[in-house]
């Protein structure tokens, strides 16, 4: 357990000292801050535009950062052979992978939390002016929570692919899977209307087997202040944690069998 924690904290330290992460963070900061600028070009419904824009930016940047960081880490360790001196210690490969996963999750969650805080501050400041109906609403927080769950699950999917293939193959595959996961409900509905059995089964298979990122997306609900029940939040939390654990089990099984030439 100490090995996992050591590796996780070291991974977070790596991200803090990595220039690429710093540049990405500055870029994300500017993008989220531009939410305030967006209302300068708006005639009415300022709060909806601001919510749409702010959550949209975070919803675009957080998976992009997750895929970029999550798919690069393990292949880079193997390519540069930095992994040799770590797995030669009394640490199992599974512990190494889980430690690296946790380090990456801490990094992306940290980035999402900072972006979210900036977004919420802008909402609060704007909410204090007379032109806005509300400041921070519960549905804003629910949408941000959904984004956090999404990066936790997406990082696990990145590690599953990265444990078996190169960075390029992994990032391409995970990006495709991310979009499919966001269309899972639509694909299911579309497939159910088909007269072909094969398509119906394929639609169901995609819906049940692939990660359903659509379930974690509350951005549209936040825009229209559509409430989400506590039981639904509990359900998506359990879904995310269970799916993440399952993906990590598969990833460690693959990683345990891999040769580091």
């Amino acid at each position: 357990m100490n090995g996992v924690l050591n590796i996780a904290l070291n991974g977070f330290r790596e991200a803090r000292r990595n220039r690429v992460t710093s540049v990405l963070f500055v870029f994300a900061f500017i993008m989220v801050f531009s939410t305030t600028v967006s209302i300068e070009f708006t005639v009415a419904t300022f709060d909806r535009v601001m919510t749409d824009f702010g959550l949209g930016v975070i919803g675009l940047l957080s998976p992009a950062l997750t895929i970029f960081l999550g798919t690069a880490l393990i292949p880079r360790e193997i390519e540069r052979r930095t992994i040799f001196m770590v797995v030669a210690k009394p640490v199992s490969r599974s512990a190494f992978l889980v430690g690296r996963y946790l380090g990456n999750v801490i990094t992306v969650v940290f980035l999402v939390v900072i972006m979210s805080a900036l977004f919420l501050i802008q909402l609060e400041v704007a909410g204090a002016s007379a032109t806005f109906s509300t400041g921070i609403h519960r549905e804003h927080l629910v949408a941000l929570y959904g984004l956090l769950l999404e990066v936790v699950l997406l990082t696990a999917v990145c590690f599953l692919f990265a444990s078996a293939s190169s960075q390029y193959v992994s990032s391409l595959s995970v990006t495709c899977l991310y979009f499919i996961g966001h269309m899972a409900e639509d694909l299911y509905t579309f497939a159910n209307r088909s007269k072909l059995d094969v398509l119906r089964y394929a639609g169901k298979a995609i819906y049940y087997v692939l990660p359903n990122f659509d379930r974690l997306d509350f951005k549209a609900r936040a825009t229209y202040f559509d409430p989400t029940s506590n039981s639904e939040l509990l359900s998506i939390t359990a879904y995310t944690l269970a799916y993440t654990a399952l993906v990590l089990v598969f990833a460690t099984q693959i990683f345990e069998r891999r040769d580091f030439k």
């Binding site: 100490n2 070291n10 052979r81 001196m85 770590v86 030669a88 009394p90 199992s92």
Partner: protein, 315 residues
């Protein structure tokens, strides 16, 4: 007593180009050897001989195709097998964003050291590899020699009972090489077993008690270094100055002439006649010594008898 390393019929085959038809690379074939506790084993071999493959198999970096390896009686896939092992890879690549001290501390933490014990060990090994002045500098700013020393420090930090060193002195200056040789000698005195893979044969000759020569993935010779250093029959090497090689040609020695200096190799029985002939020709004897069969000669003989086979076997 359990051997530090025990290898039996170990074979590693890689499969290449699956789309173009199966091609097999035999990186290691039926290797059997063992290293007793407190022994230093040198492994020699040209590029692609299987030295690094053997190390990777012992550290669970790759999996064997057939055969078995044991480290302190445990399978390398068991993390506990590596509890008492320190490993210095060839061209080590520590995390460059860490300082030297942070990296050694990280390595010590992974080995199970904590608190005051970890701090004390980190300080001790940094002094041992003479890197205590550069502890706060990020590894990305280190020279190759400094990186090698920090990598050795991380291998030593847990007080290992087995040190696995892959080309520990490659790319180092004379001082760096001497330091690493001194550390190996000190570890040997403490009773640490050492597996030393190197291209630098004099290092192996000076440090190892036993040696294994691998060529093309196969073990072609192994045994105590002392047995491989036996004198070469009763031949001697004589060095003269101021004598022409043609004046001594009748005695048919091996001759190397550089300027006025003449080096001759001949049987001990012919040495007296050569000296007399040289003195008659107004030559001066500079030195005379028995020819010693070095480990390098043994290695070259082994390579020649394997028909200069270099690299792994591709089938």
């Amino acid at each position: 007593m359990t051997a530090a390393v025990s290898i039996e019929n170990l074979t590693k085959i890689y499969t290449l180009d699956l789309l173009k038809g199966r091609r097999r690379v035999v990186a290691l074939e039926n290797l059997t050897l063992s290293i007793g506790e407190g022994h230093v084993m040198g492994v020699l071999g040209p590029n692609g001989a299987g030295k690094s493959t053997t190390i990777k198999l012992l550290l669970n970096l790759i999996r064997p195709t057939t055969g078995s390896a044991r480290v302190f009686g445990l399978d390398p896939s068991n993390a506990e097998a590596r509890r008492h092992v320190g490993f210095l890879p060839e061209n080590p690549a520590p995390y460059e964003y860490l300082t030297g001290e942070e990296f050694v501390r990280f390595a010590g933490g992974l080995s199970g050291l904590r608190g005051a014990e970890l701090t004390a060990r980190v300080k001790a090994v940094l002094e041992q590899v003479q890197m205590d002045r550069f502890t706060g500098v990020q590894i990305r700013r280190y020279s190759k020699g400094m990186t090698q020393r920090i990598a050795l420090a991380q291998a030593l930090v847990s007080n290992p009972r087995l040190l696995i060193l892959d080309e520990p002195t490659s790319g180092l200056d004379v001082l760096g090489r001497q330091l690493i040789r001194d550390i190996i000698v000190a570890e040997k005195k403490k009773g640490t077993s050492v597996l030393l893979c190197s291209h630098i044969i004099p290092d192996v000759e000076a440090l190892a008690e036993d040696v294994a020569i691998l060529i093309g993935g196969k073990l072609v010779r192994s045994g105590p270094v002392s047995e491989m250093l036996s004198s070469e029959g009763s031949r001697v090497e004589l060095v003269f100055e101021g004598v022409d090689a043609e004046r001594l040609a009748s005695l048919e020695p091996e001759v190397i002439q550089v300027g006025r200096r003449l080096t001759l190799r001949t049987g001990a029985d012919d040495a007296r006649a050569l000296i007399e002939a040289a003195q008659q020709a107004q030559g001066r004897l500079i030195s005379m010594q028995p020819i010693r069969h070095s480990l390098e000669d043994t290695f070259l003989d082994a390579v020649r008898s394997s028909q200069n086979k270099v690299g792994s076997t591709i089938e």
